[in-house]
């Protein structure tokens, strides 16, 4: 039982923290809200140079084969600066799907480009009026010769317009909620049979509704087979979720730091507001939740690294980190008083992401249902 980082892990944390403080401060997160692609290509290239895009990937593909604990360490630092990037869809969800289920040819063709940052792949799972759940996928893939034709509508596809490809989950056979019959397909977002409609999100990031109307996918772009696609997806989604959890914990710590610093300086009734117990008790409870969420997320990451059963702990980590982040961002603005809700204040960057990320990749209720399945139905 030991919660200390190794020297290598500390080095990763320190390097990421100082790099992002200069290269991607909170002001950059605000600028990117107005950027057409929602993230900085320049920063993405630098992240590739630092080896971050290869962090979870194998060394044959050019990665550094680090574990999920390291992934969380990096994600926390990205979260501290609310750094926007297609890291989770491209590097983790699409990248690890290709790494785990792609053919040798697909891995050799795609992974080095993902890792060097030249190829960005978005991830399309969720659909209209469904949860973040592969069981609910209705989009169809119909065989036509050696190729497949895709039809359906995907929702909440992050960075779809900026991406070079979109990894689409669709059904070759069977009906929802059957877990058999799924497969993944690489689609060009600029295909004439694809329509992207931007969604107006609270965090002002780039998400799209993606309509697939008879999109032809050649055999070399079909990833995985129905025999294993469900297992692939489950494993990959857990790792993406854990990265999102790390991001939320890092961001929670940042807004809590900001609120605590403000409470020490802001004087009302002739004294710093941080001397009032009302303020102190809010902040004390919140930091305890954040530290507990931090430990829970690392425990989930460690469980994944140890290849132990992870579904229940990942579900707990997502529900808890999401709720904690939402509360921390809500409190962060409140502690600042009226000015905390001024659009130009950094508190609002957090406020608008707190609720959105809590609801992303399955909201707390979705993951709570999974916890209940694990506890009550087994």
């Amino acid at each position: 039982m030991d919660m200390e980082f190794t020297e290598e892990q500390k080095a990763l944390q320190n390097a990421a923290r100082s790099f992002l403080a200069t290269e991607s401060p909170l002001s950059a997160a605000r600028e990117m809200e107005a950027n057409e692609e929602g993230f900085s290509r320049d920063l993405w290239a630098k992240m590739a140079d630092l080896g971050w895009l290869g962090l979870p990937h194998s060394s044959d593909a050019g990665g550094s084969e680090m574990g999920n604990v390291e992934l969380v360490i990096l994600a926390k630092e990205l979260g501290r600066q609310l750094c926007p990037s297609p890291y989770i869809p491209s590097v983790i969800l699409a990248g690890l799907t290709i790494a785990g289920a792609g053919s040798d040819e697909q891995r050799a063709r795609l992974l080095p480009q993902i890792i060097n940052g030249e190829l960005i792949i978005a991830f399309a799972l969720q659909e209209e009026n469904t949860y973040y759940d592969a069981r609910s996928v209705r989009a169809t893939a119909t065989k036509e010769g050696d190729a497949y034709v895709l039809n359906g509508t995907k929702m909440f596809v992050e960075s779809a317009a900026a991406a070079d490809k979109v990894l689409v989950v669709a059904r070759i056979s069977s009906e929802p909620p059957d877990t058999a019959g799924l497969a993944m397909f690489l689609v060009d977002p600029n295909d004439v049979h694809v329509t992207l409609e931007p969604l107006d999100t609270m965090a002002r990031d780039r998400q799209y509704q993606m309509k697939l109307d008879g999109v032809l996918v050649q055999p070399e772009d079909v990833i995985d087979t129905p025999a294993s696609a469900w297992d692939t997806l489950e494993g990959v989604i857990e790792r993406g979720v854990i990265a999102l959890c790390g991001y939320m914990v890092g961001a929670s710590q940042r807004i809590h730091d900001m609120a605590t610093d403000f409470a020490k300086e802001r004087v009302q009734f002739d004294r710093p507001i941080g001397s009032f117990q009302a303020i102190q008790h809010y902040l004390a409870l919140s930091i305890t939740e954040i530290i507990a969420a931090d430990t829970t997320v690392f425990y989930a990451a460690w469980t994944l690294d140890e290849r132990e059963p992870s579904r229940e702990i990942v579900a707990k980590a997502k529900a808890f980190a999401g709720d904690t982040f939402r509360k921390a961002t809500d409190l962060g603005a409140q502690i600042h008083g009226g000015i905390g809700y001024d659009e130009s204040m950094d508190t609002t960057l957090f406020l608008r992401r707190g609720k959105q990320l809590q609801l992303s990749m399955g909201g707390s209720g979705f993951w709570e249902d999974i916890i209940a399945e694990e506890l009550l139905d087994r």
Binding site: M1, D2, M3, E4, F5, T6, Q9, V69, T260, A263, K264, R271, P272, G274, S275, F276, Q277, I279, Q280, H281, L283, A284, L285, I287, T288, E289, I291, A292, A293, T295, T296, F298, Y299, W302, T303, E306, I313, K316, A319, F320, D323, G365, W367, E368, D369, I371, A372, L375, L376, D377
Partner: protein, 390 residues
């Protein structure tokens, strides 16, 4: 980073669990908080543990300890004892032995530590007074030096072990003119000593605690622990050990698991309770709160075994979360039981034998005892976050 206990630690855990399985009886098992060694049978249970060397683990050999030991051994022992509702050893070892080792005179160390490690003597902690609760440093009970003896006058309240303890570990005021934190000393008092009297108080769940009155009680000067007027420092340091050693998260985990099993086994209106979507969400939310508590507990353990580190903040977080988690767990559990939620022990209709009713009533104790939720928040705000004094 490693969340696994070592093979050696797991082997010790199993040894303790086996011992408990072999020696536990219904009359030893405590319904509420584990801990009190108030009967002959419970004391014998702990004496058997001391014979195995489990009370002396890690303490210096010159005082009857085993010397070097696994850093987590004490935690594992208490965790298993808590889980089984067995008498715990946290108070005597965590508070008295640790404080004597760090601050006591050689004479006191030699006189008391070996006997504690053999479970020959029991202790009552006596700090609280009617007008000194959360504001513990406001304690007024006076100790005036008269020759080689202190003369004590005043009252202590909520002294839970006073009716069976051999010694009282007592905070007294030795300098009434100094600022309140600077005039407190720590004394060891024989129970009984002439002039001392007890009046029982009964708590809402029927457990006894006591008022203790002191009328010119004379205590030898060499029973002073550490320096005169430095007592507040020792008390707060020991409160950290107490928050940590006496408040394991294991009981909350045990209660939650029991609730889950009960939900799986129960039908309501002809339907399995576990299929009710509202119940499912409640169970899931509780699972998250309980997991978070387990994580804070483990984090505290990892910090506590660092050499010369007193985990003030971690212990406060642990204590706070324990109080919150017990409250939410027991409230939601009674909600899930519906009308049966308020049935108590007698009559046989109560779910879980009415234990959850005790737990609900007792959750309040967890929110107030040994620096409760609000005082813990004060500690975290001031010491961890560095917020200014209120």
């Amino acid at each position: 980073m490693n969340f696994r206990f070592s093979d050696k630690e797991e082997a010790f855990r199993k040894e303790v669990a086996d011992f408990i399985a072999e020696n536990m009886t219904d009359t030893i098992r405590s319904k509420w908080l584990g801990g009190l060694l108030d009967t002959e049978e419970r004391q014998q249970f702990v004496t058997k543990m001391s014979e195995r060397g489990w009370l002396s683990m890690g303490f210096p050999e010159e005082y009857g300890g085993t010397g070097e030991s696994m850093p987590l051994a004490q935690y594992i022992l208490n965790d298993e004892l808590h889980k089984a509702q067995a008498p715990i050893v946290g108070k005597n070892l965590g508070v008295v032995v640790n404080t004597l080792l760090h601050h006591g005179s050689e004479k006191l160390k030699k006189e008391f530590i070996p006997r504690i490690l053999k479970n020959e003597i029991q202790w009552a902690l006596a700090y609280t007074e009617p007008d000194a609760g959360s504001d513990l440093a406001a304690m007024k009970m006076s100790a005036v030096l008269d020759g080689d003896e202190y003369v004590l006058n005043g009252q202590k309240r909520f002294i839970t072990s006073a009716h069976f303890a051999d010694y009282m570990w007592t905070g007294v005021r030795t300098d009434p003119d100094a600022p309140k934190h600077k005039g407190i000393s720590l004394l060891i008092i024989d129970v009984p000593t002439p002039g001392m009297s007890l009046s029982p108080m009964n708590t809402v769940i029927g457990e006894q605690t006591n008022d203790v009155f002191f009328d010119n009680v004379r205590v030898p000067k060499d029973r002073l622990v550490g320096q005169e007027n430095e007592g507040w420092r020792y008390i707060t340091e020991a409160l950290t050990y107490e928050r940590f050693a006496m408040t394991s998260f294991a009981p909350t985990i045990r209660k939650f698991k029991r609730l889950v099993q009960w939900v799986k086994d129960t039908e309501l209106d002809g339907r399995p309770l576990k299929d009710d979507p509202v119940v499912r969400r409640k169970i899931a939310k509780l699972a998250v709160i309980v997991e978070a508590g387990r994580m804070i507990d483990l984090r505290c353990v990892c910090e506590a075994v660092r050499p010369d580190y007193v985990p003030v903040n971690e212990a406060a977080m642990n204590k706070m979360w324990g109080g919150i988690a017990e409250t939410v767990l027991t409230d939601e559990a009674l909600d899930i039981m519906g009308p049966y939620g308020y049935l108590w022990h007698n009559g046989g209709h109560a779910p879980m034998d009415g234990d959850m009713v005790d737990d609900y009533l007792w959750a309040g104790h967890q929110r107030v005892a040994a620096a409760g939720v609000d005082i813990s928040k004060n500690i975290i705000a001031r010491r961890y976050l560095g917020l200014p004094a209120s």
